[in-house]
Symmetry: C2
C-alpha cells in the first residue's frame, strides 16, 4: 500500500509555516487534554491539534476498519495494536482530509469547530501506556567516551559491545511527557576521598540525548522477531531525555546496572512520529565490523537521518545550545535492537518503549550528555548568561529537539523540554 | 484494627486437611478462570477456590466500602489500590463467612453452589497486572557465592553491597503464573576457548529461588516512602522462580546488568499471601554491620520465617528436593528495599512486583540456584532416577514451595511449578 501521506507536493488548507516540524507530510500521533477536560487521541498540523476521536465520530474514517472508540481513549495502545496496515490507512486518510483541494472538512465550519484546537489550548499527555521500557546503549561514540573516562582508554569498548546491541531494563512508572518538571534525586554516593557512602541530593544530574521507538504486539512468549521483519512492528519514534544521576550511578551500578541513577525520571516528546513519515530519511547505518552473528545481519539502509539538538535554558535566562548530534550515528539499528531483544523469546507488547541509548556523534559538540561534553566536568560549558555548567543546575530547563530535512520537506518531533527542580525534602 | 482472621483457634465448616497451605488463617488472594470461562478474583481454602465476585454480589461484604465490581475483574490491582484497611476488613470478613459457627453461607446450598469451586476445576491466572518488576540481590550468602565463583574469593562482596539493597529492573511482559511452561532461550554466548561469540540454545538454564512482594500505590513522583512506613504499602507475597541463562548472562551483563539472560521468563505462585497472614511469622533480620545510612535504619523485626524448598522432577520421573532454604536469611528487609527504591522519588504503583533476589542460606543444601548448589557445575546433583544435574534439562519441571509453620498454624504459598521445554525454532 503506497504511503500517499508522504506526497511532498501536497499542501494543506490549514495555515502551516514552512519551518514547522508538523507539515501535512508528518501526521504524528499523540494524546491531548482539552480545556473541557476531554482526553482524546490526536494528530498535529502546524500549530493545530486535531481531535481524531471527533473526526471518527463525524464519519471521516469511514471505510477503514477501526474499533468504535479507538481514538476516544487516553492512550494509543489499542490503535497501535491494530497494526501497520491500519496506521497507514489512517495517516493517508488524514492527509486527504486536510489536503488543500478537499472541501469536506475545509468548508464545514461546524465540523472544524469540534475537530481543530490551537496547540496553546491543549495539554499533551503521555501518548501510550508503556508496559515495559528497555534502554539500549547503541552509540559507539558514547560507549567509547564512557569507557575512556571510567575504564581503560586503550580498551574503551567492552568485549561484547561490537557483538551485542547491549541493553537493560528501565522503569516505566516514571516516564513523563515534555513539560513535566523533574526533581533532583536524593541518594547514596561514595565521594572520591571517603571510606563510607554519604546521603544527599545528587550533585551530578545529567541528561542523555536519546531517541526511542514504540512497538506493537509482536510475538508470543518463546518466539523471536527476525531482523528482516522487525521494522513492521515499530509504530514510530519520540525524543527521550533519559535523566541520569552520575554520582549515584557510579556507586550503585556494579554488578547489576543502573537503577536509582536512572529511574527517577525519563522525559519524552509527546508526538509519536511514524516510521512511515520517516521513510524518506532512511540512510545507511555505520559499517559493522566484525560482522554480527546471522540473526543480526541485515541488508539495505536501516538508519535514519534525524538531526538532534540539546539546549539548556537557565532560570530566567536565555537558551544555549550545547549539543548537535544525529541519530544516524547509532551503530546498532532499531531493527537489530528489536531482533536481539526477542531472540530469547521475550514477549513484546503494544506500547513498549525502547530507547537508543545516548546518541553521541564523532565531534566534541555532538556528544549526547554533559558527562561527555564537559569530559567528566573537566571542561565546563559556557552559557550565554556568562555562567558555566559542568552538569545540570536546579532551575535549568533541558530542551531536546529533533527533525529530518531534505530539499522538499521537514519532518520534526517538536521538543521534549523539562525543568530540573530541587529535591522534595525526604520524609 | 485487629487482624481477627489470624485467630489460630478458628475452624472452618469447609473440610481442610491439617497439612494444607491454605487453612482459614491464610486467606490469600488470586484470580482464577472457571470452566464456564468466567474470570474472577478469589481466595483459597484447602482445596477449594472461593469466588469473591459472587460473594460480593450476594451481599456478603455488606458494610465494607468496595467498588461495585472490584472482585469481578481479571486482576487484583483495583482491590490492592483500596489500601491496607480494606484488605484487612475483607480478609477478616472472609474468615467470618467460613467460620464453623457461621451458618449464613454454610447452610445456604444455593449460595455455596455459585461461590465454591474445587481447585481442579479452575485455572489460576496471573493475580495482578505488573506494571514494573524490580529484582533485588539481597541475600548475602548468594552474593558471596557468586562473588567467589566469578570475581575474587577474598573480596567476594562488592564494595557497595553492605550499604545498598542492590537491585535492577526486570521485564514485566514475561512474568507468568505457575503451570505455564517455559522455553529454553536461544542467545549469544562466548565459549571459554573461543575468540568470537556463538549462537544457539543456552546450555546453562538455571532457576533462582526467590520471594517477591506486591505493592500498592504509594507515592507521587519525587516523594520517598520512609522505611518505617514501607510495610503499609506491601499487599502480600508470592514465590518467584527467576529463570536465568547463566551462559548468556556471563557474556552480556557487563556493564549494564542482566537482560536476555533473565527476561525470557519469570514464574510466580498464583496466590498472594497477605502480609497480615504472615504477621505471626515475623522474626529478626540478620544483624547489619556496618550500620546502614539513616534512611535504611529500622527497629524491630522485619524479616519473615518462611521455609522455602526447590525440587526438580525429570520428565516421567520422580521429584528430587535439591534445596531447603528460608526467607529469614535475607540480609536486607522488604521495607528497606522499598524505602531504598523510592529514596530518589521513583513512583510505585499498585501491582508492582519486587523480587528478593536468590535466597541462599548458610549451608550447601540451602543455596538457591543450581549455579551455587553445583558450584558452577563442578559438583553435579544426584537425582532419584540416577541421573545427574548440573543445570536444568529440557523436560525437567522445577517446583518451588514455601510455608510458615508454628505450633498452631501453617500458612503456605502452595507452589510455583514450571516445566522447561526445548527452544521454539528461531524464525
Amino acid at each position: 500500500m503506497p504511503i500517499t501521506a508522504n506526497n511532498p507536493n501536497r499542501k494543506s488548507w490549514l495555515e502551516i509555516t514552512s519551518d514547522s516540524d508538523f507539515p501535512i507530510q508528518n501526521i504524528p500521533f499523540g494524546v491531548f487534554l482539552t480545556k473541557e477536560n476531554i482526553v482524546t487521541v490526536g494528530t498535529r498540523l502546524g500549530d493545530f491539534a486535531i481531535d481524531l476521536g471527533a473526526l471518527q465520530q463525524l464519519g471521516y474514517f469511514e471505510g477503514i476498519e477501526l474499533t468504535d472508540d479507538v481514538f476516544l481513549q487516553d492512550t494509543l495502545n489499542d490503535f497501535i495494536s491494530d497494526g501497520k496496515k491500519t496506521w497507514r490507512l489512517v495517516r493517508n486518510r488524514i492527509a486527504d482530509i486536510f489536503d488543500a483541494e478537499n472541501p469536506a472538512l475545509r468548508d464545514n465550519k461546524k465540523h472544524r469547530d469540534v475537530v481543530i484546537f490551537r496547540m496553546e489550548d491543549v495539554e499533551m499527555q503521555l501518548p501510550v501506556f508503556i508496559g515495559d521500557y528497555t534502554d539500549f546503549y547503541s552509540s559507539k561514540e558514547h560507549a567509547t567516551n564512557v569507557g575512556k573516562m571510567f575504564r581503560d582508554p586503550e580498551n574503551a569498548l567492552l568485549p561484547n559491545w561490537l557483538h551485542i546491541p547491549v541493553g537493560y531494563h528501565g522503569r516505566s512508572s516514571t516516564i513523563v511527557p515534555s513539560g513535566i518538571p523533574v526533581h533532583r534525586p536524593m541518594g547514596q554516593t561514595m565521594p572520591a576521598d571517603a571510606t563510607a557512602p554519604v546521603f544527599g541530593p545528587s550533585r551530578l544530574v545529567d541528561f542523555e540525548l536519546e531517541t526511542a521507538f514504540i512497538t506493537t504486539d509482536a510475538n508470543i512468549m518463546g518466539e523471536n522477531i527476525p531482523v528482516g521483519e522487525a521494522e513492521d512492528y515499530i509504530f514510530g519514534m519520540v525524543l527521550l531525555n533519559d535523566w541520569s544521576a552520575r554520582d549515584i550511578q557510579k556507586w550503585e551500578y556494579v554488578p547489576l546496572g543502573p537503577f536509582l541513577a536512572k529511574n527517577f525520571a525519563s522525559s519524552i516528546s509527546p508526538w509519536i512520529v511514524t516510521m512511515d513519515a520517516l521513510e524518506p530519511f532512511r540512510c545507511a547505518q555505520p559499517k559493522q565490523e566484525p560482522t554480527p552473528l546471522p540473526y543480526l545481519q541485515q541488508t539495505g539502509d536501516h538508519a535514519f537521518d534525524i538531526n538532534l539538538q540539546v539546549a539548556i535554558t537557565p532560570e530566567n535566562g536565555d537558551e544555549t545550545v550545547v549539543c548537535d548530534s544525529n541519530m544516524k550515528y547509532m551503530y546498532w539499528t532499531m531493527s537489530q535492537q528489536l531482533a536481539h531483544h526477542t531472540i530469547n523469546g521475550c514477549r513484546i507488547n503494544s506500547g513498549d518503549m525502547m530507547g537508543s541509548g545516548t546518541i553521541s556523534g564523532p565531534t566534541e559538540n555532538s556528544f549526547g550528555s554533559m558527562l561527555e561534553l564537559t569530559w567528566g566536568g573537566k571542561n565546563p560549558i559556557q552559557m550565554k548568561d556568562g555562567s558555566e555548567r559542568k552538569f545540570i543546575n536546579d532551575g535549568d530547563t533541558v530542551i531536546m529537539r529533533g527533525y529530518c530535512q531534505n530539499d522538499k520537506v521537514r519532518i520534526g518531533f517538536g521538543e521534549v523540554s523539562s525543568k530540573l527542580l530541587p529535591p522534595i525534602p525526604t520524609k
